[in-house]
Symmetry: C2
Subunit: 118 residues, 2 copies
DNA sequence: CCAATAATTCAAGGAATATTGAACTATGGA
DNA sequence: TCCATAGTTCAATATTCCTTGAATTATTGG
């Protein structure tokens, strides 16, 4: 992930609706969600969700595919992982202690926990 | 780190000058850098750097202290670590594989490498 | 106290983003 | 073919963000 991409990703994630969309898509997994479903869940208009989805796609955080009448969006795990890495590298540049801090207090998921489901 | 803080942090990091400032401050360490030094390094006016520093402080990513005539800014490692964690949790919410991916390809710094310098 | 240094705040203009409704495109079924 | 469904694109407006120069505040040295 180069700086331009990171800047664009941060911008994409700095908007409430878009952050919520990314979260929903990450939870949804590779199957993704149709634009209409996303709009409904977020409580925004079709026009508006379309605008935000385009922004997210432009930054590379999500991708789309057509499936019959629907357009299905899904999270780009590579891009998300790349962004985390970018942030970590910036942190570590100064003080490795941060990295430790992140890993120690990680209440998210342990590496060997649910890997079977991937 | 709650959502509001994350949104604000992403917004702060989505601007070229501000991202460069954070990087410089992370490298500078706890001693930090004076506003004037930052302005000079970034090649922007005093007014402009002041604006961006205020934005960064508002989001909690940096903090300031006065030292004689200068105002010294330094990175908030806690906030940065919190942001990394926030992102990781969003990732992991869907697929733990991402976390593995981040850790595997991390060419940044190993936990027991430079910790002595902290 | 006065001048110099270091920075911030204010106000104004310009640029980029976000929101909305109307018009348009693509797909699938009767 | 015609219609309904699912989305997008367009154009206009509103809002927020960025930049700049001028004025202001805080600190130190003479």
């Amino acid at each position: 992930m180069d700086e331009r991409q990171a800047l664009s990703s941060f911008a994409a994630l700095s908007q409430e609706t878009r952050l919520a969309i990314v979260r929903a898509l990450v939870v949804a997994g590779p199957e993704g969600l149709a634009a209409g479903v996303i709009a409904e869940r977020m409580g925004v208009s079709a026009t508006n969700v379309s605008f935000h989805l385009k922004e997210l796609e432009r930054s590379g955080l999500i991708s789309q595919r057509r499936e019959s009448r629907s357009i299905i969006y899904s999270a780009s795990y590579d891009a998300l992982a790349g962004l985390v890495k970018f942030l970590m590298e910036d942190c570590c540049a100064g003080h490795p202690a941060i990295r430790e801090n992140v890993e120690k207090s990680d209440g998210c998921c342990s590496p060997d926990d649910e890997v079977a489901s991937a």
